[in-house]
């Protein structure tokens, strides 16, 4: 059997979180009624002219600095000409030969724990198009130009990835970088990040790249992973059956998990790029770039290292928590309040994350705040409640029943730590289970330790789970051992 190698390159469209559009003063907010956020410039009314949004440049420079790239000190906007109803001017204003961000690199972590550097070819600023809506118009199409003119950076990688896992790791890392920088809201479901994947295969050990296809507009990590796997399989099958891969643009349908050809190379547009005469080359000086460099927020890699160093977390845990700026912030706030980074890490990665995933929520929308979580952890630490009860309290907090203390109080969940009372219950359980006691006494030392756990069930049942497990253990152990 032939062994194949997959070669993947990504083009990533990142919507910048500016308040207004890249060349007009219209709002970029998501979700408004169609065409209510499109001004005369966005509609390409005759005689209107573009004025660049400084914030978009600042954000693009921040990204460039974050990936250690050279910043284009003289970047030029070009017109990319093609006709489509959601492209009002009949050209997209973008950058070609002189982009704002030059070559750079992004480090990703592989499954085996090693790191790999993915080279970035360049990243350029451009305007987004509107949306064509093909449903509900009885054979016609509706056009919503709210998105037209939203600033994007298009990040173009080199073909450095060798598997869908690497591609996803790279995409996640970019997501982590742009959200940490605060230049993108990272809301994939709203199209804030969209991926075009270039995929080709070649025999392992060969140098020459195979013919590639481009699958466009994937807006989730999952879709991207599935689309790559599907395409790799298709290409290998095709070649092994004696066929040839044709250079083409493909569309992936996440619902049906199928892809189809959109257009071949022959049908590709001649975009007739030329420098936009309505916009002068944008010159950035060193002072401007340095000032942005000074103000760069902490990046995910640095944050991960700091979490290991400062909070004693494992590399893996630190990486998980550091990837997303909001999650990192949540973790740090909780840690600061409760004073226990490890417990905070476990809770954020455990219950909080599971609940959020379940409800498809971002951490910013978490019903349990970092401070509330810290309050809960504090009660675990001072033995007011056990870990098990804590989960019950968390559930109540999630459902909006108040802070940990109030819930513990209201539900009477306080851990039983009264020695006298616990001794009484242990005595009762020992008295009520003679067979278990016999069995325990008859066991060897090794087995006794294990079998002691058998008494915990009835004890917890008797205390409605509120017995302090450590204390119960101590008392039970003493009493049983005394019987030997």
């Amino acid at each position: 059997m032939m062994e194949w190698e997959t070669v993947i390159g990504l083009e990533v469209h990142v919507q910048l979180a500016t308040k207004t559009k890249i060349f007009s003063g219209a709002s970029t907010a998501f979700g408004a009624a169609p065409n209510t956020q499109a001004c005369a410039i966005d509609l390409a009314m005759p005689g209107t002219l573009p004025v660049p949004n400084e914030q978009a440049f600042r954000y693009a420079v921040m990204f460039g600095l974050a990936i250690d790239a050279e910043i284009g000190k003289c970047s030029v906007f070009e017109r990319k000409n093609y006709f489509y109803p959601d492209l009002p001017k009949g050209y997209q204003t973008t950058q070609l030969d002189a982009p704002i961000v030059g070559p750079g690199h992004v480090e990703i972590q592989l499954a085996d724990g090693s790191t790999k550097s993915i080279r970035i070819h360049h990243a350029h600023l451009e305007e987004d198009a509107g949306k064509s809506l093909h449903e509900d118009f009885h054979g016609m199409s509706g056009i919503d130009l709210n998105r037209a003119g939203t600033p994007l950076i298009e990040i173009v990688s080199e073909p450095d990835m060798r598997s869908s896992e690497e591609a996803v790791a790279f995409a996640r890392k970019l997501h982590s970088i742009v959200t940490s920088l605060g230049i993108c809201d990272g809301e994939m479901s709203q199209g804030s990040m969209r991926f075009d994947v270039n995929v080709s295969v070649r025999l392992k050990g060969t140098e020459e790249l195979g013919t590639r296809t481009e699958t466009k507009n994937l807006n989730s990590f999952k879709f991207m992973e599935d689309a790559i796997k599907l395409e790799v399989e298709r290409q290998i099958d095709l070649i092994e059956e004696g066929g040839e891969v044709v250079q083409e643009t493909r569309l992936y349908n996440g619902e049906t998990k199928t892809a189809r050809s959109m257009r071949s190379k022959e049908e590709a547009n001649d975009y007739r790029y030329f420098p936009c005469p309505d916009l002068l080359p944008v010159e950035l000086d060193d002072d401007y770039i340095d000032a942005i460099r000074q103000q760069l927020p902490e990046l995910p890699d640095a944050r991960q290292a700091r979490f290991v160093e400062q909070h004693g977390l494992s590399d893996y845990d630190a990486g998980m928590l550091a990837a997303d700026a909001a999650t990192a912030q949540f973790f740090e706030t909780a840690t600061e309040q409760c004073g226990d980074a490890k417990l905070a890490a476990n809770w954020v990665m455990g219950e909080v994350s599971a609940h959020l995933n379940n409800e498809e929520k971002g951490i910013k929308d978490s019903p349990v705040t970092a401070l509330q979580l810290a309050g809960l952890i504090a009660r675990i630490k001072d033995n007011t409640i056990s870990n098990k009860i804590a989960k019950q309290v968390f559930e109540a907090m999630w459902n909006g029943e108040g802070d940990a203390d109030a819930i513990i109080e209201a539900k009477g969940l306080k851990q039983m730590s009264d020695t006298g009372e616990l001794e009484k219950i242990v005595d009762e359980v020992i008295a009520g289970n003679p067979a278990m006691v016999e069995d325990w006494l008859a066991s060897d030392e090794k087995k006794r330790k294990k079998k002691m756990g058998g008494f915990m069930g009835p004890i917890m049942k008797a205390t409605k789970g509120q017995a302090n497990p450590g204390m119960v253990n101590q008392i039970l152990s003493k009493k049983l051992n005394d019987m030997l």
């Binding site: 005759p46 005689g47 209107t48 000409n81 005469p277 309505d278």
Partner: protein, 484 residues
């Protein structure tokens, strides 16, 4: 009243010799009676004019009149006017009513000017004879068998026929100066970036510039005072100090260094026109100027370079006219391609389509380097010619057009002959320099113009030189035959 210049009208209105309403009614009446002979107006905005005139009279009475208070003018139909159809001389925009004013229109309104209407032009400013207008050809008041020049033919004919005291105009390759020359007027194309292009429908963005069409240099200075502004809505507008262009009109021009490019007197120039130009330059010598021959060695490349760059830009600028959001849309489109093809095919005239095709070709893959890039290189050489020349001289002088006005149809089937009409004016657009045409006599009873080219932002110097000439001569006072 209609023989008074703007300067005289301002005085007359100030002295209450007549009211703005009287003046405006007088012009509206003339337009109604006489414009059938010339076809210089596309739209007459009588109601707006009278309303503005009455408001101006109140301000005049209250003694708070701004510079042009109550002075009627006409706007080339390329300038967007809020609530008033702006056609750009095209069927494509026959139904287009902009919801905004061009900055030029706003400037004049702020200065109290009264809008008489919108004047005719070559379709999308593409033409040198005003024969390409959807609204029919404009006739030259000096000889109604002849063209008025173009593309600002309506502006020129209206002023020459005394149907407006002055008009706005635009110049991409000579569209102010050539019709000024052919109609015996003073026409100024300012430095690129001096007048805002916001709301001025783009033909070739890097070349288009608005300017005044007037009877005298003094009027041009008054008009430019209103027209010129720095406008943040136009990224190519230059934040250059604004001066009162009337302030230096009366400065002596003794010692003024005039350069006469030998290339401007080559074989294509009508010999009688050449005589008038030489005589005008001799007049300047009498006024104390020093004349020297200079060379602009790349002059012969200006027309070819222009006819790559301008069509290339226009091919993209006119893509927005697609029948989707505004303007002409074909009946019952079968599908999207049909909508585009027929809306554009039916909405644009022949010359516009020719230039879009030439431009798209020049930008297409495989031809870009040979045409567009080469033309941009030539453009830099042409600009350098002027930069070098202005090391030695203050003003460059030569003919505006090769000959006086030609008859209808003489060149309309020969695009190259038509393109050569602008052989002396195009280079200044490529270089971005200011150029001015003033009447300097008649050939075959039709006017010919002397062109003055200045250094960047040297409009005041050009106007000063022109005014001094007009103080010493009376060519600018000659009126077309048959004008009441």
């Amino acid at each position: 009243m209609h023989n008074l210049t703007i300067a005289e009208l301002i005085k007359g209105l100030g002295n209450k010799d007549f009211s703005s309403e009287e003046l405006t009614r007088h012009y509206l009446n003339r337009i109604q009676r006489l414009d059938g002979n010339y076809n210089s107006y596309i739209s007459v905005t009588e109601d707006i004019a009278l309303e503005q005139a009455q408001a101006a009279d109140k301000r005049l009475a209250a003694g708070e009149a701004p510079a042009l208070c109550g002075v009627p003018i006409a706007h080339k139909d390329i300038f967007c006017t809020n609530g008033v159809r702006t056609s750009c001389g095209s069927k494509m925009l026959d139904n287009f009513v902009p919801p905004y004013d061009a900055t030029v229109v706003e400037n004049f309104r702020n200065d109290g000017a009264v809008m008489l209407g919108k004047v005719n032009m070559d379709e999308f400013a593409m033409g040198s004879s005003n024969e390409t207008s959807f609204y029919g050809a404009v006739k030259n008041p000096w000889d109604t068998n002849c063209v008025p020049g173009g593309s600002s033919g309506g502006s020129a004919a209206a002023v020459a026929a005394r149907l407006a005291p002055a008009a706005t105009a635009t110049d991409t390759g000579g569209s102010i100066r050539q019709p000024a020359s052919l109609c015996g007027l003073t026409g100024l194309k300012p430095t690129y970036g001096r007048v805002s292009r916001w709301g001025m429908i783009a033909f070739a963005s890097s070349l288009d510039q608005g300017g005044p069409m007037t009877r005298t240099a003094e009027d041009a200075a008054i008009m430019l005072n209103s027209m010129a502004s720095f406008d943040a809505k136009d990224s190519t507008c230059v934040d250059h100090e604004l001066s009162d262009y009337t302030a230096s009109l009366n400065d002596s021009i003794a010692g003024l260094k005039i350069g006469v490019p030998k290339e401007y007197f080559s074989e294509g120039l009508n010999p009688q026109t050449a005589e008038r130009i030489q005589a005008a330059i001799a007049e300047y010598e009498k006024l104390g100027a020093q004349v020297q021959e200079i060379s602009l060695p790349h002059t012969h490349l200006a027309v070819p370079a222009y006819y790559v760059i301008a069509p290339a830009e226009c091919s993209a600028n006119l893509s927005r006219f697609d029948g989707v959001r505004y303007g002409y849309r074909c009946e019952d489109p079968k599908d999207l391609a049909d909508l585009y093809k027929r809306s554009r095919g039916e909405g644009f005239g022949e010359e516009v389509k020719r230039r879009i095709m030439v431009g798209a070709y020049a930008l297409s893959a495989g031809y870009y380097d040979a045409y567009y890039r080469k033309a941009q290189q030539v453009r830099r050489l042409i600009k350098q010619d002027f930069v070098d020349a202005f090391q030695d001289v203050d003003v460059i002088m030569g003919p505006t057009a090769t000959a006086p006005a030609f008859e209808f149809g003489a060149k309309s089937n020969d695009p190259v002959a038509m393109y050569l009409e602008d052989i002396y004016t195009i280079a200044t657009n490529l270089a971005g320099l200011p150029g001015l045409s003033i009447p300097c006599g008649l050939v075959d009873n039709k006017p010919v113009g002397l062109q003055l080219i200045g250094n960047f932002f040297a409009e005041a110097k050009l106007l000063n030189a022109a005014h001094q000439f007009q103080l010493a001569t009376d060519f600018h006072t000659l009126t077309a035959p048959g004008i009441e």
